[in-house]
């Protein structure tokens, strides 16, 4: 039919604001890099400790990616073929670690796996020595905690995209587990697993907060952490810049690999649909699936439960510094969310109008940009002129925005594309101008997605413990940094109380913004 020949999306809103936004982000990320590169001394200054940091960064990222994916495969398989009470809730919870502040999760993990945690108590009953969480395996456990859910979601999506006909055909052929594997599962996993592993590898490369709290020492320092140490303890800008350069090469290569290897998106809808399968009816299969689901649920829920239980006593007697930090954090998150909307809205409209290159640029930059590198670069640029500590909060907000941008684009672009596709012709026929189209059509129609993206950004910003550690003077702290400082001062009860507060505030900010967007929004 002639109808199938739809015109390409009509330019009902201007493209240039989005181009400007993309250029601004590129300038921020690349400009700070240039600043860093100009400061970096020659690479011959790469000391033994730096080699160790590089090695540790790669080893922990490889291990984390491998373990997350290896464990996610049976969990996703079990979730795909079982229906049980609480399945939806569990799948929703798999999305939670994404907006869970790292420092909160770490306190939870410490309470479960730490020296005096629940696990050690159990082992103690059996007369065994307590677990040791600091070091490589602590870092890896924390990374698996954060990335197992992500891997499970991505692989589960792969499972659900296998056409139902294929399972029906396999059942008809009376395929056993082995044949079923070859006919349906292996081809899907070959497609999904490399991308998933690459994304997790890239995420773990720039691990800072986890390494800061669970790593440290010459044996367990990531490059990001080494940058912080060079900066914070030695004030060796040359070395910080040189390490930033190394980090940048790593993350750009990894981000590139991840984008190459993955095509599917992390926010796939319809994950709550169970695949109808005719295999796996046996008792053995049921027990195995049950084990994986229970184990994953326990691994994810216990630390959160621990935060709740151990945080409550401290919550009633929080020191004043925590309330001050909460106020600072709320300001940073609000600023970061405003920055994000100013950049992501025009940018996603331009991408939806067909400027795909802009999206790729923003995606690579967002994945490759390391908060500590941007922070170092900005520090190097401004410190001859103004006191960098004055800029700690705006810089943190800016960096948080860049980190959240790729995710916001993934949420906004598909919806904008849909709205433009459905409404652009009518708007043009009515001679509606671009500004009116934004105000009367695009913004109201994308409200739910804008709320979701804003909620995500606010929660990410509230929980971020990165560049603020670089810039903040002892007087100023965001809430995550304050939690870290309380931990460092061995005031565990206050730290746990503050962590619970942080947890409630970030989830609350996400919930309010996401909810606000969807309230009264028409489909």
């Amino acid at each position: 039919m002639a109808r199938s020949a739809q015109p390409i999306t009509l330019p009902v809103v201007a493209i240039w604001p989005g181009t400007c936004a993309a250029l601004g982000v590129a300038l921020l990320v690349l400009g700070t890099l240039v600043a860093v590169a100009l400061r970096a001394d020659d690479l011959s200054g790469f000391a033994a400790a730096d080699w160790a940091a590089l090695r540790f960064t790669l080893v922990q990222a490889c291990l984390s990616a491998f373990l997350s994916v290896a464990l996610a495969i049976p969990v996703a398989k079990a979730l795909a073929r079982r229906r049980f009470f609480g399945r939806r809730v569990l799948i929703t919870l798999l999305g939670a670690p994404f907006i869970l502040p790292v420092i909160v999760a770490i306190l939870g993990l410490l309470a479960v796996f730490g020296r005096s945690g629940w696990m050690s108590d159990l082992l103690g009953l059996a007369g065994l020595p307590p677990v040791q969480i600091y070091g490589l395996h602590g870092v890896v456990i924390a990374h698996v905690f954060f990335n197992l859910p992500l891997a499970t979601r991505l692989i589960l999506q792969g499972w659900q995209e296998i056409p139902a006909e294929r399972f029906r055909l396999a059942a008809q052929l009376n395929a056993g587990p082995r044949a079923m594997w070859q006919l349906t599962e292996a081809p899907m996993l070959r497609q999904v697993v490399p991308g998933t592993a690459a994304v997790i590898f890239a995420i773990c490369l720039s691990s800072f907060a986890v390494a800061l709290t669970l790593g440290g020492g010459p044996k367990a320092t990531t490059i990001e952490l080494a940058i912080y140490q060079a900066f914070h303890f030695d004030f060796d800008l040359g070395r910080a810049a040189m390490l930033s350069g190394v980090q940048l090469v790593l993350t750009v290569v990894a981000a590139f690999l991840a984008l190459k290897a993955s095509s599917s998106e992390g926010f796939g809808a319809g994950l709550d649909r169970a695949v109808i399968r005719w295999d796996g009816k046996g008792t053995c299969a049921r027990i195995i699936d049950g084990f994986w689901i229970a184990a994953a649920a326990l691994f994810l829920m216990l630390p959160l439960l621990a935060v709740l239980i151990s945080g409550l006593p401290g919550l009633v007697s929080l020191p004043a510094s925590v309330w001050g930090a909460t106020w600072v954090s709320l300001q940073v998150a609000a600023l970061s969310t405003v920055f994000l909307l100013c950049v992501a809205l025009p940018l996603s409209a331009s991408i939806a109008l067909g400027r795909k290159r802009l999206g790729e640029v923003a995606g690579i930059l967002g994945l490759a940009a390391s908060p500590l590198v941007i922070g170092t670069g900005l520090f190097v640029m401004v410190y001859p002129y103004i006191d960098p500590f004055l800029l700690a909060l705006p810089v943190t907000a800016l960096v948080n925005m860049v980190m959240a941008l790729p995710f916001a684009l993934r949420i906004l672009v598909p919806r904008m594309r849909q709205v433009l596709h459905h409404n652009a012709r009518l708007a043009l026929a009515l001679d509606m101008n671009g500004r009116t189209f934004w105000r009367r059509v695009l913004l109201p129609r994308c409200r739910a997605q804008i709320g979701f993206a804003a909620g995500l950004t606010a929660a990410l910003s509230l929980g971020d413990l990165g560049v603020i550690a670089l810039f903040a003077d002892p007087e100023v702290a965001t809430l995550p940094l304050q939690v870290y400082r309380l931990m460092g001062a061995y005031r565990m009860e206050a730290a746990q109380g503050a962590a619970l507060l942080l947890f409630v505030i970030s989830m609350g900010a996400f919930w309010i913004l996401d909810r606000g967007g969807r309230l009264h929004a028409e489909a």
Binding site: A2, A5, R425, L426, L430, R435
Partner: protein, 231 residues
Amino acid sequence: MLRLNALDIRKGEFRLSGTADIKAGARVAVIGPSGAGKSTLLEAIAGFQPLDSGKILWRSDDLTARAPGKRPIAMLFQDGNLFPHLTVAQNAGLGINPNRKLTPDEMKTVEVAISRVGLSGMEGRKPAELSGGQQSRAALARVLVQQRDLLLLDEPFAALGPALKAEMLDLVKEIVAERNITLLMVSHDPDDARRITDEVLLIAEGKLHPPAPTADTLDNPPAALREYLGT
């Protein structure tokens, strides 16, 4: 007169070319086999489909290079004629000026148009709260306030049942007669064409044929049309 002068449109393998003059105030059905380019022709006239060559003139104005919203044309598409988040009155009001608030006089005009299409009392409803026929009426209310010289219909009533579709076509016929609007409508159904048009514009095998009287053409179809009609 709407003059389609030596039009040439290409989209990959697809091609449509020809010349046709349509008298002001005429009611014309665009007919032809599937894929011949009926919708494409309407989109070209409305400004959504660029021409490879040729000109589109209305009275003596050259419309060829004008943006869709700057042409004296109102168009109803197969779907998406209403913004789902705006009320009937807001949707119709967009026809007067989408870029600013309406004056009280203009609001009055909108109200009159809404009552003319039989939707009085439903001004505050959103499209999802209306039936298919009422949605079509709301879109027609907007066409009324737009006060354009030409109305192009790209099968906006295709999803309605036969009785409702006939009702809508009758309403369109009344409106274009009242306002002296020139009508071009894509039609798959010879009965629709007979119902409200007096001329047909045949498109077949990449050619645009000049308009001919509806009844004659459908009673004695030329070869290109005979196969499509199955007579």
